[in-house]
Symmetry: C2
C-alpha cells in the first residue's frame, strides 16, 4: 500500500479535476445556447421549445443573469427532487431502476463502512505486527488493513464475524430491493396503457408447408390451436437490404442539406466535391447536383427493393407477430409449447415495437445454436487472449518500422524528447483503442448470437463486459499479469491455492484500486455530466446543417443510458467494495463517494437528457442481482483464501458456509422473483382484460394492432397508400385451406367468423 | 494389469457361477409351484389363473415333463420375441424404454469395440515400449493397452482420432435414441385412453384467505382466471396419520390370518402370544383373541381419525388437484404462471393417481427450499465422508470390545481359526450393510426433499446414487483411497493435474474393472433373474398365510423395476466402456456381454414378472441421456489427462475441442427434445380434445374425475357412503363468495352455470 500522503495527493488531484468538470458543467448548462445539449429530453417531450432566458440578442447565446451563476450547484438538489413515481412516469421504469443500482450501492456500503470503521479499523490499528517487524517499511494506511494482523492471530475472528454480518446485510438489501423492484415492475405493467406488445406474441421457426404460405400457415395454426383467442398476425420480412438503402439515403441527404446551406450563405459560389474515395480524388462536380441525382437513384433502388421484398415469397421469414383478442390469450400462448416438436412454432412475448432488433429476425433458427457456440468460444478467447493481437500491433508499430516505412519522419522521430514520448505513447494507444472499441465488439458478438430485442442485446453485452472487466481489470490488477498468464497460473495451481494466491495480494492492491476509483469513477462520472461529445457535435450540426426548428430538433443527440457498458462498470465497484469491506475498509468511503456522485449525475441525466431507446420494464434486474451475488461469492472466497494463508485454519472453516448460503440465497431469490421478469401471470392478464372490456368496449383491436409490428422501413412510405385500396370488403370471409391433407388440425366452424381476414397479407398495408 | 491367465480364471469362475444361476432359474421356472414367482405379471393381468401344467397331484408342484427340461434356455428367445409396440402395451412405456438403455449400450459399444480391435489393438500391440523396458514385468494384456506406447509416440494420434470417432458415434446413437424415445413418448401419450391426469393440474401453495376455505378459494380463483376451462377440484388432506393407522392394521391382520390358519390346522390348540416387545416378553394371551381386539380398536381409532381429517380445517393442505373441461385448458394451466407472486398458486401437471406420493403433499411449500439445501449438503457429506461413521462402527466392533461386553463368548473367539474369520469379516460387514441400505438412505433423502410423485423420487434417487457410484466406485477404484482422501488430493492439486492423476492410473485398473464387471454385472444379473428373495417369501407366505386364491394373489410379490438403483448401475458400465474404449479396448467385450445378458434378463422380467408402480411415459430419459453425456465428458477429460503425461502435448491440444463439443451437443439435444418430457404441447391437447368430443360427446367428465385424486386411505371405506347422500340436488347453483373485498377478481356471470358445484367438499365423497 502507498502512504496516506500519496493517496491524499491523488485524491486532491482527482477531486480538483472532478470539481473542474462539474464547474464547467454548471457554467455551460445555464448558457441558453447549450440548452438543447443539457435539456434535450424536455424538448423531445414538447414542454420546452426554446431556451428559457429570452431577451437581448446576446442573451440568446450567453447567460448574463449573474444570480444564476451563484446558484450553479442547484442542479444537484433539483436532480433529487423529482419523486420516484414521477420519475418512472417521466423517464420510464428502466431508467428509474437503473439509478436505483447506485442507491443500492449506498444502501449496502454506508452501513458496512460504518460498521467496518467502528469494528475492523480499531482491531487492525491496535494490532502491532507491522511495528514489530521492523525490517518491513510500513505505512499508516497498512495499519488500517488486515495486513497488520499477525499470522494465527485471534483477531481474525472479528473479520469472520464481520464477513457474516456484511453478507447478511447484503442479503437483506438485495432481497428487499428485488422485492421493491418486482413490485414496481408489476405495478408499471398493470398501469401501462394499452400497448401492442401486451397482445402480441412473437412466433419463430414456423415450419415450412408445401401447400401454404407462411402467412396462411400461421393463421390456420393459431385459428385452430387458440381458437377463442387468435386475432391477427403480421409476417416478418427480411428487409435488411432495404434498411441499409434507407440508411445510406439518410446520410446523403445530410450532405445535401450541408451543401445547400453553404450555397445559401454564399449564393455566388457553387460548392463542388470530388466523386472519388472520401471526396479526395476523382472528378470535380457540382455538389448539390451530385447529391440530388444520387439520392434520386437511391430512391429508385429503394422502391425496387421494397417491391421485391413485398412480392418475393423468399423474403418472408418463418417468423410472425401473432396478436390475440385478449391479454390472457397472449399470455397463454407466450408461455406454452405449441407442438410436439419443441423447435418449431416457438412462442415468446413480442418485445415492444421500438425494442425489436429487426435484422436478427431474419436469422434462421437452426443456426442459432452454432452461432452461440462460436460466440462463447470467441468470448473465452477475447477475455483471456486479447493481449496477443494487441502485443502484435504494438510490436509492429515500433519506431524502427515507422522509420523504415516513412523515412521522411526520421529527423523528427530521432529527436530524443519526441522519441521518448512516442515510445511511451505507442504501446498504450493500441490498448486504449481496443478498450474504446471493446463495447462495440461485445455488442456485435451479442448481435451475432441472434437476440431479437435491443434490451436483450444490451443485457447480453453487459454480461460479456462484466466477465471481461472481472478477469482483466479486477483479477488482472490483483495478480498483475495478462489474463493468459493468470489462466496459466490458475490451471497449474491446486484448486485451493487459487483463492490463496489472489486473496493474499488483495490487501496490497488497496492503494491501486483507490486511485482507480478516483480516476475512473469520480472523474469519469463528472465527464459524463459534461457531455463533451454531444456538446461539440450539436454545435457543429447547428452551424452547418440546421435550417429549421425541426432540423435543430434532429441535431440534438440526447443519447440514452448505455446499459451494456455502464452497468458492468458499476458492478466492478460492488465487487471492489465487497472484497475490501473486510480486508481494507479504507476503500469504502471512496466507493461511497462514487455511488453518491453517480446517483446524482445519472438521476440528473435521465431527468434532463437521455431518451429511452426502449422500455423493458426493468427486465435487466435479475442480471444485476446475479452479478452482485457473484461479487459477494468472490469476496467470500478471496477472504477464505487470504485467511487460510494466515495460519488461521479453524477460522477458515468457519467461513466455508458463507458461499453455500449465498448460492442458496440466490436460488431462493430466483424462485421468488425471477418469474415476474419472464412470464406474465394469467390473473393480471385477466384483470386487465376485464378492465379493458369495461372501459373501452367498442375498441377495434384489430385496427389498433394493424401496423404495430411493421418493419420501420415500411413506415411512412406514402407511395404504398395506393396499393392498399381498402381491400377489406373484397376479403373472402373464409380463407380456404390450400392444404391437401389436414390430419391433425380439425377445422373449426368459428374459423370463419372470428379470424377470417388475413392480416398477414402485406398488400393491404396502409402506413 | 494382471495377466491374461488371471483374467481367464476369473472369467471362468464368473461364467460358471452365472451359468449356474441361469440353470437354476431355467429349472425352477418350469416348476408349476413357482409359477406365481416367475410369471406373476400374467396372473395380475388375468390371463393366467393357475400353472399351465395341470395333471397328477405331483405335477401340481414339480414339472415331470422332461421335454421342457431339454429346452430350458427357450426363455431367452421368448424374451426377445415380443415386438416393441406390444411390449409397450403389455408392460408400459417406462419399462420398454428402460430395457432400451441396455440396447443403447450394445448400439454404442459393439461398433466401438469392433473399431477398437481393428485399429487400436494392432497399434498398441505392434509397439514395443514394454518389451524394450526389460526391467518391468509386463504381460500380454498390457501389450493391448495404451501403456505399450512410449512417451511422445506418434501412435497416440490413432487414439486421438479414435476418440473423435467414438465421440461422434456416441453422439449419433444418443441423438437417434433421444429422437426415437421422444417419438415413442408422444405417440404413447397420444394413444393413451382417457386418464384423469390428462385433465388435472396439481396446484400447490394456495395462499391463505381469511374469508374463504381452501376449497372455496380454489374454486373462485380458477373459475375467474380459467373461466372457460375450469371444471372441478379436489382438495388435499393431510392423511399421513390415518395412512399409518391403516398400514398398522394391515400388518396386524396378516398376523391374525396366520394364527387363524394355525388354529385351522390344529383345531385343539389355541395359539398364544406374549404381548410385550416382539412377542418375547409379557403376558401370554390367546393370539386370535388378542389380534381381533387390537384390530377392532385400531378400526375405531381409524374412524375417529378419518372423521377428524374430514372435519378439521387444519387437516386441509394448501394444495388441490384442479380438473379442467379440456386437456387444452389443463395444458395451459400447467404451463403458465397464475399470479404475480410466483411462489403461490403453483401449478404443475398432476402425476398419475397411482404415481402420487401422498405424504409429501402435506409438506408446506416454504420449507422446500430449506429441505433441498440441507439434503444437498447431506449428499455431499454422504458421498465424500461416508467412510467416517463406518470406520467408527468398525473400530467399536473389534474383538476386544466384544469380549469385554460379552465375556462368555471369550473361549469361542479366542480360538484362532474363528478369530481370524471374525477379524476378516467384521470390518467388511459394516461397509456391506451400509451399501445395502444406501439406496434406502438416498430414497429417504429424496423424500425429505419433498418431491410429490414416485417417479420423481426415483429419478432424484438415481441422480444421487450415480454421484455416489461415480465418486466411490469409479474414482475410488482408480485412485484407490477413500473419497475423503480423494477430495483432499483434488483440492490440493493443480486443476490440470487432476485429470492427469486419474488418467494415469486408468490403464492400470483395467483388470480390476474386468473382474468387477464379471462379478457385479454378469453374476448380478443372473441372480436378478433367479429372484431368490421373492421365491423364498412366496413359499413362506403360501405356507402360512394363504387361504383363498385371492390371498395367493396377494402373496405374489412381482416387484417392479427399481429405477433408482438399477439405472445408475448401468450408467457405471457406460462410464467404464467409454473411459476404456480408447485406453484398453480389452474391457469392451466384457461390457458387451453384460449389456446383452442384462437386455435379455430385464426384457424377460418386464414381460413376465415386474408390475408397474407408475407410468411416467419415459420421463426419466433426459436424466439417462445426461448421465451418458457426463460419462462421455469424463472419458474425454481422462484421456486428455493421460495423454498429457505421455509427452504428447500437441496431441493433447487436439483433444481439447471434444468436451466443448460434447457440452454443446448436450444443449442441442436438450433444446430439441427435453421440452417433450416437461410440457404438453397445445396442439396435441387440442387434437385429443377434438377427438374426444367427437368420440364420446356424452361423457360426464365431472363424474369420471370425481374420485380420481382421493387419498387412497379414503378409497373403499364403505362407511362413508352414508355421508354422501347425494347432495347434488341440494347444492346451490351459485356458491356465493364470502369474501368482503374482491378487488382483483371480477365476478363472472358464467361462474354460476359452469362451475357452480363445489367438488372440493368432501362430505359428498362416495367411494
Amino acid at each position: 500500500m502507498g502512504s496516506l500522503n500519496d493517496i491524499g495527493v491523488a485524491a486532491g488531484i482527482n477531486i480538483l479535476s472532478a470539481l473542474g468538470f462539474l464547474l464547467a458543467f454548471a457554467v455551460l448548462r445555464i448558457q441558453p445556447i447549450n440548452d438543447r445539449v443539457y435539456f434535450p429530453k424536455w424538448y423531445l417531450k414538447g414542454t420546452r421549445s426554446s431556451p428559457r432566458h429570452i431577451g437581448a440578442a446576446l442573451s440568446k447565446f450567453v447567460n448574463a443573469d449573474m444570480s444564476t451563476y451563484i446558484r450553479f450547484l442547484k442542479w444537484m438538489p433539483a436532480a433529487l427532487k423529482m419523486p420516484e413515481p414521477e420519475l418512472i412516469e417521466h423517464a420510464g421504469l428502466d431508467s428509474a431502476v437503473y439509478v436505483r443500482i447506485y442507491l443500492i450501492g449506498l444502501k449496502i456500503f454506508v452501513p458496512i463502512a460504518m460498521l467496518a470503521f467502528a469494528v475492523l479499523v480499531p482491531v487492525n490499528w491496535t494490532s502491532d505486527t507491522l511495528e514489530s517487524q521492523n525490517s518491513l517499511s510500513y505505512d499508516q494506511i497498512d495499519k488500517l488493513s488486515i495486513s497488520n494482523l499477525g499470522k494465527g492471530s485471534k483477531r481474525f475472528w472479528a473479520h469472520i464475524v464481520m464477513a457474516y454480518v456484511f453478507t447478511f446485510w447484503t442479503f437483506y438489501v438485495l432481497y428487499h430491493e428485488y422485492k421493491v423492484i418486482t413490485t414496481l415492475r408489476l405495478r408499471f405493467l398493470a398501469n401501462q396503457n394499452r400497448r401492442p406488445d401486451q397482445f402480441t406474441v412473437l412466433v419463430r421457426n414456423i415450419p415450412e408447408d408445401s401447400d401454404e404460405t407462411v402467412s396462411e400457415h400461421v393463421q390456420h395454426f393459431f385459428a385452430v390451436n387458440h381458437r377463442d383467442h387468435y386475432l391477427s398476425h403480421q409476417v416478418v420480412y427480411n428487409a435488411n437490404a432495404l434498411a441499409s438503402l434507407v440508411q445510406e439515403k439518410k446520410g446523403l441527404q445530410n450532405w445535401l442539406v450541408y451543401y445547400e446551406n453553404q450555397q445559401a450563405k454564399n449564393p455566388e459560389k457553387n460548392p463542388t466535391i470530388k466523386t472519388g474515395l472520401w471526396g479526395l480524388w476523382g472528378k470535380k462536380v457540382d455538389a448539390i447536383e451530385y447529391y440530388r441525382t444520387t439520392i434520386e437513384e437511391l430512391s429508385k433502388q429503394e422502391d425496387e427493393e421494397r417491391e421485391k421484398v413485398l412480392s418475393d415469397p423468399s423474403a418472408i421469414m418463418p417468423a410472425a407477430f401473432v396478436s390475440f383478442r385478449t391479454q390472457w390469450g397472449a399470455a397463454v400462448c407466450a408461455q406454452t409449447q405449441q407442438t410436439s416438436n419443441p423447435t418449431v412454432w416457438l412462442t415468446e412475448w413480442a418485445p415492444e415495437p421500438r425494442d425489436v432488433y429487426w435484422p436478427n429476425l431474419a436469422i434462421p433458427f437452426v443456426s442459432l445454436a452454432v452461432r452461440r457456440l462460436i460466440m462463447t468460444i470467441a468470448l473465452f478467447f477475447l477475455t483471456f487472449f486479447f493481449m496477443i493481437p494487441i502485443a502484435l500491433v504494438q510490436s509492429l508499430a515500433n519506431l524502427d518500422d515507422i522509420e523504415r516505412v516513412l523515412p521522411f519522419l526520421k529527423p523528427i522521430i530521432e529527436r530524443n524528447s519526441i522519441k521518448s514520448i512516442i515510445q511511451g505513447f505507442l504501446p498504450g494507444i493500441a490498448l486504449k483503442l481496443f478498450l474504446i472499441i471493446l463495447p462495440t465488439i461485445l455488442m456485435t458478438m451479442s448481435k451475432i448470437e441472434g437476440h431479437i430485442s435491443l434490451s436483450g442485446l444490451d443485457r447480453r453485452t453487459a454480461s460479456k463486459y462484466f466477465l471481461f472487466l472481472f478477469v482483466n481489470v479486477f483479477l488482472g490488477s490483483v495478480i498483475a499479469g495478462t489474463a493468459f498468464q493468470q489462466l496459466n497460473t490458475f490451471i497449474n495451481q491446486p484448486a485451493n491455492k487459487i483463492p490463496e494466491t489472489v486473496g493474499e495480494s488483495v490487501p496490497m492492491k488497496a492503494t491501486f484500486f483507490i486511485t482507480y476509483i478516483m480516476v475512473d469513477g469520480w472523474s469519469g462520472v463528472a465527464v459524463e455530466v459534461l457531455r463533451l461529445k454531444p456538446l461539440v457535435m450539436f454545435h457543429i450540426k447547428n452551424t452547418f446543417l440546421v435550417r429549421t426548428e425541426q432540423d435543430r430538433e434532429q441535431a440534438m443527440d440526447p443519447g440514452s443510458l448505455d446499459f451494456g457498458t455502464n452497468e458492468p462498470r458499476i458492478q466492478l465497484y460492488f465487487l471492489l467494495g465487497l472484497v475490501y469491506a473486510a480486508v481494507a475498509p479504507i476503500l469504502l468511503p471512496f466507493i461511497i463517494v462514487f455511488f453518491s456522485l453517480s446517483y446524482l449525475v445519472y438521476r440528473h441525466q435521465i431527468i434532463n437528457v437521455y431518451t429511452q431507446q426502449y422500455e423493458s420494464g426493468a427486465q435487466f434486474w435479475p442480471d444485476v442481482h446475479r452479478r452482485i451475488i457473484t461479487a459477494l461469492i468472490v469476496s467470500q472466497i478471496l477472504l477464505l483464501g487470504l485467511l487460510s494463508t494466515q495460519e488461521a485454519e479453524s477460522s477458515t472453516v468457519a467461513l466455508l458456509p458463507l458461499p453455500v448460503l449465498t448460492i442458496w440465497f440466490h436460488y431462493v431469490c430466483k424462485g421468488r422473483f425471477e418469474p415476474a421478469y419472464i412470464k406474465f401471470p394469467l390473473q393480471e392478464a385477466m384483470v386487465k382484460d376485464t378492465l379493458q372490456r369495461a372501459n373501452d368496449p367498442t375498441l377495434n383491436l384489430r385496427e389498433y394492432l394493424r401496423h404495430a409490428y411493421v418493419h420501420p422501413v415500411f413506415h411512412g412510405g406514402d407511395m404504398y397508400e395506393l396499393v392498399a385500396m381498402d381491400e377489406e370488403e373484397k376479403d373472402p370471409l373464409l380463407v380456404a385451406t390450400k392444404r391437401r391433407s389436414r390430419m391433425n388440425t380439425p377445422v373449426d366452424s368459428r374459423l370463419n367468423s372470428s379470424s377470417g381476414t388475413n392480416e398477414g397479407e402485406f398488400s393491404r398495408l396502409r402506413p
